[in-house]
């Protein structure tokens, strides 16, 4: 039933801005988790440096894109604040990972 309902929603119209905001937050947190795993992998010499660097760059790009997109969405102020806070938290942890990586390389 839920699936049918979802299909109907998809057929009738696009995703609501609220659900787009939630998707953006999920995607950003997925990238933040990826960055964490990749940094650990690099530290343990399981992953090559170029791959790690590219992944961290991709994660940064995704976070920046999410921040830009969230501004254009028609969502309540409280939702916007929540998502922006989450994105800032992830950006901070990504910056920490980059610094840590740079320190290890030295």
């Amino acid at each position: 039933m839920k699936a049918l309902l979802a299909l109907c929603v998809l057929v009738i119209g696009c995703k609501s801005d609220e659900s787009k905001a939630s998707d953006l937050a999920d995607r950003a947190s997925s990238w933040a988790a990826t960055a964490g795993v990749v940094t650990t992998g690099m530290a343990q010499n399981k992953l090559p440096l170029t791959f790690g660097r590219n992944t961290l760059e991709d994660a940064q790009k995704e976070l920046d894109a999410a921040r830009k997109q969230i501004v254009d969405l028609r969502i309540s102020d409280s939702t916007r604040r929540e998502v922006m806070q989450a994105l800032s938290g992830q950006a901070d942890s990504l910056a920490r990972l980059k610094t840590e990586l740079a320190r290890r390389k030295q």
Binding site: L7, V11, Q44
Partner: protein, 404 residues
């Protein structure tokens, strides 16, 4: 002895040729988002693909004709042209995805963008087809494709719960995000039931000069080859479910999947993943390009075959050359291979009625197949496949338009 060797090689080819960018993307995304819950889609798709591959091989062995030839003879060239155009476009999209898969594997290994790798990869594929014989293409890529067994080894080393796996083989409703769940279910089936598989398989049977005595070999190859191939895809889904799902990583980009083997193979895991992806996509790209050339030549009645010089079969060779060129340029201009794959796999599922309906009619032609025509059991199975394919078409239409 010769047949036993052919049986072994056939199974090897089926396993090696089964796994490609479609399975890699759809299974890792499904595992990352829904853990093992979508294993049922893999199971259902595998049963369907076994039956369709068995029928296409049986038809080729008994009638000495490939599927496109039989469709043209049975329905007439005019009726066959419409579905052919749809399948040709799909072939080119799959080929572009596979070229993108090899280029992405090179990006993982070198750090240089997949866009840069697209052209060298396209040239490599074209050169291989231009110079090699059918057997060389078939057996070299499938033997190298055995590297993908590393996914099975890793999945076993993760010790997943057997109970959870068995439960997941039965369809269930998603706990969250139903649209994504059904899109992934449809895409998994689209990745498994690719039209190129049947065209390539039946053309291969004719190239290898199969006759009625090969019917039992065909049966074993289709059942064992497809089952083992599905086990590799299932293993990747399980690994993604155990590595990515608990961390909330959604596998939208290949960099989010490439490290899944490193926990169990710390030193080789990353290279193994990239090699598996590169080899599997290279093998599939060769097969898709050939399959399109076979289908085009067979529909228009041109000379075809891999064992003659390109000069002798100019139009056949030109077809795969143009297809490789389009696929290569698509990736070189920057189309994202993972996104292209998801769209293509959903479209594949939509096109399934075009592939499955002719089987129902062709496999009942007793003038051609004699006692090897479908019996009541196989006809019931084929009817169920046709019904499933129509349902998939209806379900994937809104999902493709809005979801992907």
């Amino acid at each position: 002895m010769k047949k036993a060797l052919q049986l072994a090689l056939g199974i090897l080819t089926a396993i090696g040729g089964f796994f490609d960018i479609g399975n890699l993307v759809t299974c890792s995304q499904a595992g990352a988002s829904f853990r093992f819950q979508l294993l049922w889609a893999l199971g259902l798709g595998t049963v369907i693909v076994i039956l369709l591959v068995e029928m296409s091989g049986r038809f080729a062995a008994v009638a000495g004709k490939t599927l496109p030839e039989a469709i043209r003879d049975h329905f007439g060239a005019r009726m066959a042209i419409g579905p052919f155009v749809v399948l040709a476009v799909l072939h080119v999209m799959i080929l572009a995805s596979e070229i993108g898969g090899v280029a992405l594997a090179m990006q993982l290994l070198t750090g240089i963008s997949f866009k840069v790798w697209a052209i060298p990869v396209g040239i490599l594929i074209w050169l291989f087809l231009w110079r090699a014989t059918f057997d060389a293409v078939e057996y070299s890529t499938s033997t190298l494709g055995m590297v993908t067994l590393c996914f099975v080894v890793a999945a076993v080393l993760y010790h997943p719960s057997n109970e959870e796996i068995l439960k997941s083989l039965l369809p269930s409703l998603p706990k969250s995000d139903p649209a994504k769940y059904w899109l992934y279910a449809v895409s998994i089936m689209g990745a498994l039931i690719s039209p190129f598989l049947f065209y390539f398989y039946s053309s291969g049977a004719v190239e290898d000069k199969w006759d009625k005595s090969y019917v039992w070999i065909n049966r074993i190859v289709s059942v064992m080859g497809m089952t083992f191939g599905a086990v590799i895809s299932g293993a990747l889904l399980i690994i993604a479910g155990m590595v990515l799902y608990p961390r909330g990583i959604s596998a939208d980009n290949i960099n989010q999947v490439a490290f899944v083997l490193t926990e169990k193979f710390p030193f080789w895991g990353f290279a193994l993943f990239a090699a598996s992806m590169g080899v599997a996509c290279l093998g599939a790209a060769l097969e898709v390009a050939l399959s399109l050339a076979y289908a085009t030549a067979q529909l228009f009645g041109w000379e075809w075959g891999m064992d003659c010089t390109p000069g002798k079969h100019a139009r056949f060779s030109l077809t795969y050359t143009v297809a490789i060129l389009i696929g290569t340029m698509t990736i070189a201009v920057g189309v994202q291979p993972v996104k292209l794959t998801m769209l293509t796999m959903a479209l594949n599922a939509m096109a399934l009625p075009i592939v499955s309906i002719p089987f129902l009619l062709l496999m009942n032609d007793r003038r051609v197949l004699g006692d090897k025509a479908n019996g009541p059991l196989m006809n019931t199975a084929t009817l169920l496949i046709v019904a499933t394919s129509v349902v998939l078409f209806v379900v994937s239409l809104p999902l493709v338009v809005m979801g992907s």
